[in-house]
């Protein structure tokens, strides 16, 4: 919100306080400032002038040479282009040296004629946006009078960060900020004039159907109006606070809004059918047209202000077109009310109609303010329009709630939280400056919160701590280290595990870590294809490209592969991130486990099969290394049913735990995906379930004595059907003797004559070793014999001789 310091000065004397001082203290004790803008810094010498003569300049279409009386000395010659420049006009004159709109006025030749100054429009003086002509001032003002003495051309506009006063409905008007400044600098606060006589007539008949949604409704009628533009001074203040001047009556409502923070609304009395006001809930689907000429469809929770027969305002949000103040309006009924904040907020959010009024109502307004605001409006209108008069008594329907109980706290508590040593009387004095009522008895402090702070903001002792602290000054409170007990150490299982993975992959396997959005990219999935996984949708997606949370991590690394491949023939990428699967039970959080996805690219080989294999085995090398470093027992098997659709099913593997659970998949990239993302076939990718891996038992590292007896190597060649995997063979070799088999190395695979078609010969070098003796060849042969029999039975293997 924007505040004019000139306006604030109406309620608190700012004499002797620099703008910097005021701003610094507001930042220190009250709110955040967005900006501080000085208006009219170069305009202090602008004075009133009377145009004596105005003559057209030959050959210059719009220019006139004016002779103006500026109060002292001889008349001054000024060239002026304004259409309303005429003899007898009293206007504003900027002498040379003044700065208007950032430009210094100099004695200059305009159209061949000397001009010693400038006659100014309201826009040029920063008053309004009106630059249709020069200012027209009251003819009674003496030439030479400085304009700044009766118009706010020199001012400072302070913009406060709205989020920093979300909790302070009282600060949404100039009086509220003036009250803070008065408290800070210990100066008296002058309240605005609300002194008006009651009118003669009956008050408008107000009935409130829903006192829960409208705790207080005040209405008053004002007659004898002549709708006209407001005086320039009023227009100027509204304008610089961001509100467009409209007419004296409407401007007065906005003036009250910006002054007291209390929205008020004027209905044309002629349109108040039956002379009645009914506050009722809207019916679902009810249609109205708001002041901005937009049709609106309401919900059952919305609140309406109606006359005897029809709605005339959407409560707390906006008036309706049917009852607005018009140029011929002579009498208005003014509404000043409080509405339940969440009701106004819901309506405003749903209708997309966030107004100055709704922004204030949704912050819980002070129930004591409506009658003050109504009378303040009457006073303003009567000041603006001499014939205006209050034509009714004040209607006031108030479901009065008991005032909140005083807050009880102690000086000791306040001092403990603030680290201060303030006496109870000092605390009382600080709170009293902010208009709190304080009774201090010994250490006990009983605080009555002023109504304008009690609606939401201040209710508990902690709130008082803040009030005392901010006014006392946090910068006066010395820092103090807390006592620090030694905590029980705790290592988060996920974080610890992920750190280990990152270290192994980035520094061991030379892979690059990426991080990507938690959303699926729909255009990317359109290209690479989708997995048939249940996905969690976003109700309000930021774009049509990010509508669901990712259920798989592979596409994230593939997208990075696409982006990065043109720049790197050799790549190893990985991401650790959460994926999301809808919960099966309503009301629960979705399953959101961490996954690890990897993608590699290797230099292409001569043919696609070789490229795919090279990529796959590069990837598998990384995985083998990772599992080894982490001590994870993972078994690799030929790909099964659950292979992700982005991998080539013919060159993929399933990664399993020792107890058979699927921990992930790895494979060469599916040729269709490779084509879609514009990489060759020399790519491979994997996705692993880190939650499952995290919880696997990991062997404790322990020392094993260096072998004292020699190892016996044994070369074994077996012929097996092609479908039998290396892993299956190795598993059986290792199982052949749990302690003697120290190492199994595949030394060669051979297909072709004399091996029958569909079979292959695999040769292994097995190292047998015992910890307590040198093994005899016969012992090794016995083990191998049993092994070969087992492989023959399980795998259809036979010994190659």
């Amino acid at each position: 919100m924007k505040y004019s310091l000139h306006w604030i000065g109406k309620y608190v004397d700012l004499e002797g306080l620099s703008v910097d001082t005021i701003a610094a203290h507001l930042i220190r004790s009250v709110c955040e400032l967005e900006s501080v803008v000085h208006l009219g810094a170069g305009l202090s010498r602008v004075c009133v002038a009377r145009v004596l003569t105005a003559e057209a300049i030959a050959g210059k279409k719009h220019l006139q040479l004016c002779s103006v009386d500026v109060g002292a000395g001889a008349p001054v010659s000024v060239v002026c282009g304004a259409p309303n420049a005429r003899a007898g006009l009293v206007t504003a004159f900027a002498p040379p040296g003044t700065v208007v709109g950032g430009r210094e006025i100099k004695v200059a030749s305009v159209g061949g004629v000397e001009s010693a100054g400038m006659l100014c429009s309201a826009a040029e003086l920063g008053l309004t946006e009106d630059h249709g002509g020069i200012l027209e001032l009251d003819a009674a003002i003496a030439p030479g009078t400085l304009v700044s003495t009766f118009l706010p051309i020199v001012d400072t506009v302070i913009e406060v960060d709205n989020k920093s006063i979300t909790h302070r409905p009282d600060l949404w008007g100039h009086l509220g900020l003036a009250r803070e400044i008065a408290a800070i600098f210990e100066r008296p606060l002058r309240l605005p004039d609300t002194d008006v006589p009651d009118g003669p007539g009956h008050p408008p008949a107000v009935s409130v159907d829903r006192p829960d949604l409208c705790p207080r409704y005040v209405a008053i009628a004002i007659a004898g109006l002549t709708v006209a533009p407001s005086p320039i001074a009023i227009q100027a203040l509204l304008h610089r606070c961001g509100v467009r001047p409209i007419s004296n009556v409407v401007d007065a409502t906005n003036y009250v809004l910006l002054e007291l923070g209390q929205p008020v609304h004027a209905f044309d009395a002629r349109e108040l059918h039956g002379g009645r006001i009914v506050v009722r809930a809207a019916t679902e689907g009810e249609r109205v047209t708001t002041l901005d000429a937009q049709p609106r469809t309401l919900g059952a929770g919305d609140l309406l202000i109606c006359d005897a027969g029809r709605p005339i305002a959407l409560a707390g949000v906006m008036g309706l077109l049917n009852s607005e103040v018009r140029p011929d309006t002579t009498e208005v009924v003014l509404e000043a009310a409080t509405f339940r904040p969440d009701c106004v907020r819901r309506a405003a959010v749903r209708l997309g109609l966030r107004t100055e009024a709704s922004a204030r109502f949704e912050k819980s307004l002070d129930p004591l303010t409506p009658p003050i605001a109504a009378r303040r409006f009457a006073r303003l209108v009567m000041d603006l329009i001499p014939e205006a008069r209050v034509s009714s008594r004040l209607a006031d329907v108030w479901a009065k709630a008991p005032p909140p109980a005083p807050i009880r706290t102690t000086a000791a508590y306040v001092n403990q939280r603030l680290g201060t040593a303030l006496a109870p009387a000092e605390i009382a004095r600080l709170l009293e400056r902010l208009e709190f009522g304080v009774v201090a008895t010994g250490d006990a402090i009983e605080v009555t919160v002023p109504s304008f702070r009690a609606t939401k903001d201040v209710a508990i002792p902690e709130d008082l701590v803040e009030e005392v602290g901010r006014l006392y000054g946090y910068d006066r409170i010395p820092a103090d280290q807390p006592r620090a007990p030694i905590p029980v150490p705790y290592r988060h299982p996920d974080r610890t595990f992920h750190r280990a993975i990152r270290t192994v992959l980035s520094f061991g396997a030379a892979a690059t870590e990426i991080q990507s959005y938690s959303f699926d990219s729909e255009p990317f999935l359109d290209r690479i294809g989708r997995a048939s996984l249940p996905r969690l949708g976003v109700r309000n997606p930021i774009s049509s490209e990010q509508t669901h949370l990712r259920p798989a991590l592979l596409p994230s690394v593939l997208a990075s592969l696409e982006r990065s491949a043109p720049h790197a023939p050799r790549l190893r990428l990985y991401e650790i991130g959460r994926v999301f699967t809808p919960a099966t039970t309503a009301g629960e959080l979705p399953d959101q486990p961490y996954r690890l996805a990897l993608a590699v690219r290797v230099p292409a080989e001569a043919d696609s099969a070789a490229s795919q294999r090279a990529a796959y085995f590069d990837l598998k090398g990384v995985l083998d290394f990772l599992f080894d470093r982490l001590g994870l027992g993972i078994l690799v098997a030929r790909a099964g049913e659950g292979t992700p659709p982005w991998l080539n099913p013919a060159r993929s593997a399933e990664l399993r735990t020792a107890d058979g659970r699927v921990a992930g998949h790895a494979g060469a990239l599916h040729p269709a995906v490779a084509e879609a993302i514009g990489v060759g076939l020399e790519c491979a990718a994997a996705e692993l379930d880190l939650e499952l891996l995290r919880d696997l038992p990991r062997p404790e590292a322990r020392y094993v004595a260096t072998p004292r007896f020699p190892a016996v190597p044994f070369d074994l060649s077996v012929i097996v059907p092609d479908r039998v995997t290396h892993a299956e063979i190795e598993l059986r070799i290792r199982a052949a003797h749990a302690t003697w088999v120290k190492d199994v190395a595949l030394t060669g695979v051979y297909r072709g004559a004399p091996i029958p078609d569909g079979q292959k010969s695999a040769t292994y070098r097995i190292l047998f070793q015992s910890a307590d003796r040198t093994l005899a060849m016969e012992e090794v042969n016995d083990v191998v014999k049993v092994l070969v029999e087992a492989m023959s039975h399980d795998l259809g293997a036979w010994l190659r001789v």
């Binding site: 220190r28 955040e32 989020k163 920093s164 979300t166 909790h167 302070r168 969440d342 907020r345 403990q416 939280r417 603030l418 680290g419 508990i460 902690e462 709130d463 701590v465 803040e466 602290g469 901010r470 946090y474 820092a479 103090d480 280290q481 807390p482 905590p487 988060h492 974080r495 750190r499 990152r502 980035s506 061991g508 396997a509 030379a510 690059t512 870590e513 991080q515 959005y517 938690s518 969690l536 949708g537 976003v538 109700r539 309000n540 930021i542 949370l549 994230s556 990075s560 982006r563 990065s564 790197a568 190893r572 990428l573 959460r578 999301f580 809808p582 309503a586 009301g587 959080l589 979705p590």
Partner: protein, 349 residues
């Protein structure tokens, strides 16, 4: 007269010495040893001929053979040493050697800059006795808002435009969503941070992302005061920035703290003297913080008469951008190796 054996010995001696002295390498010397000095070598073998020599001459000839062996051995040793010296000398001279040629390549991987800063914070905070925790990215309205004293229709919800999910949950808008989870999971007193990604429904530009990273700090103890918060933040931030920082607290409004603060740090660019970075104020707004609101303590199952706390929320993405002088936040999640491979830290610096 000289016995023919003596004549032959002299010839053998000459040949052996010639071969030893001219040997090109150790292998040639070894051949000389083998040929002349072995048990059946030509010199030692010569002793066998003593039988054919008159008895009177035998001692002299025997001695002559032994002397010759000694002489040849010495020559071999001399030559061996000379060869060794020459080799050493050769090895110690390499005028063409260029020590600046590239070393054998070692493949190089990198951590994401967010990880690097995350790990640095992890290190610093754990060394100061903090738990480092991790919480779900999809969370409930309860933990993200209600438990934090932000009921439905509270105007403060405007501060954080929210991604809502079809199942009624939301993408957490701040790491503060972990506060009440932490209170429920750990027995006080404790100190904890919880870094992670957060989401805001807002348009993206160079300095705004709908997905970014924060780190939340939470301390629960029996007596927690504004001065504690101030001192703790000063110490923690000095650790984070690796130098002594000045801090100041200003009033700030966040429903889950009371009192709430905006914390400024003394500008690290100008040390408070005033510069464009701090808009000439000497201070830079860094993070929101405050004393934990009693309603939040209650939501976490803690009795506000017994337990108090402070909390802060630090922009991790912003910290990364400050640290690496990254000018566009959108680089962070774009997955481009040309960006990512620039960060060669180990996370332990």
């Amino acid at each position: 007269m000289t016995h023919p054996a003596s004549v032959e010995l002299a010839a053998l001696r000459d040949e052996a010495l010639r071969l030893a002295t001219n040997a090109a390498d150790d292998a040639a010397l070894d051949a000389v040893v083998q040929a002349f000095l072995g048990k059946s070598g030509r010199l030692k073998g010569h002793l066998k001929r003593l039988g054919s020599v008159p008895a009177a001459e035998r001692p002299a000839l025997g001695k002559a053979v032994n002397d010759t062996v000694t002489e040849v051995e010495a020559a071999i040793a001399t030559r061996r040493k000379a060869l060794g010296d020459a080799r050493l000398e050769a090895a110690l001279s390499d005028p063409g050697f260029d020590p600046t040629l590239p070393g054998a390549p070692v493949a190089r991987g990198t951590l994401h800059p967010l990880t690097l800063v995350d790990q640095r914070l992890d290190e610093i905070f754990r060394s100061m006795g903090f738990y480092v925790l991790d919480y779900p990215e999809v969370d409930s309205e309860h933990y993200n808002f209600e438990a934090l004293n932000i009921p439905a229709d509270h105007p403060a919800r405007d501060m954080q435009d929210t991604f809502w999910l079809n199942d009624g949950n939301l993408l957490r808008t701040h790491t503060s969503a972990g506060q009440v989870r932490t209170m429920k999971a750990f027995a006080p007193p404790f100190r904890a941070i919880f870094p992670g990604r957060v989401f805001r429904y807002e348009a993206t530009d160079a300095s705004h992302e709908h997905t970014f990273h924060q780190v939340e700090g939470l301390c629960i103890d029996r007596h927690v005061s504004v001065p504690h918060l101030q001192a703790s933040m000063k110490t923690l931030l000095s650790g984070v920035f690796g130098r002594e920082v000045k801090v100041r607290l200003r009033p700030g409004y966040f429903p889950f703290v009371e009192p709430g603060f905006e914390l400024d740090i003394g500008c690290l660019v100008c040390d408070g003297a005033g510069c464009p970075v701090c808009k000439r104020s000497g201070w830079v707004e860094l993070l929101p913080c405050g004393l934990v609101h009693p309603n939040v303590l209650r939501a976490g199952g803690l009795d506000p008469d017994e337990w108090q706390g402070w909390a802060f929320g630090l922009g991790l993405s912003r910290l990364v951008m400050m640290r690496y002088k990254i000018d566009d936040i959108r680089h962070l999640l774009a997955g481009d190796v040309r960006f990512l491979s620039q960060f060669s830290g180990t996370g332990l610096e």
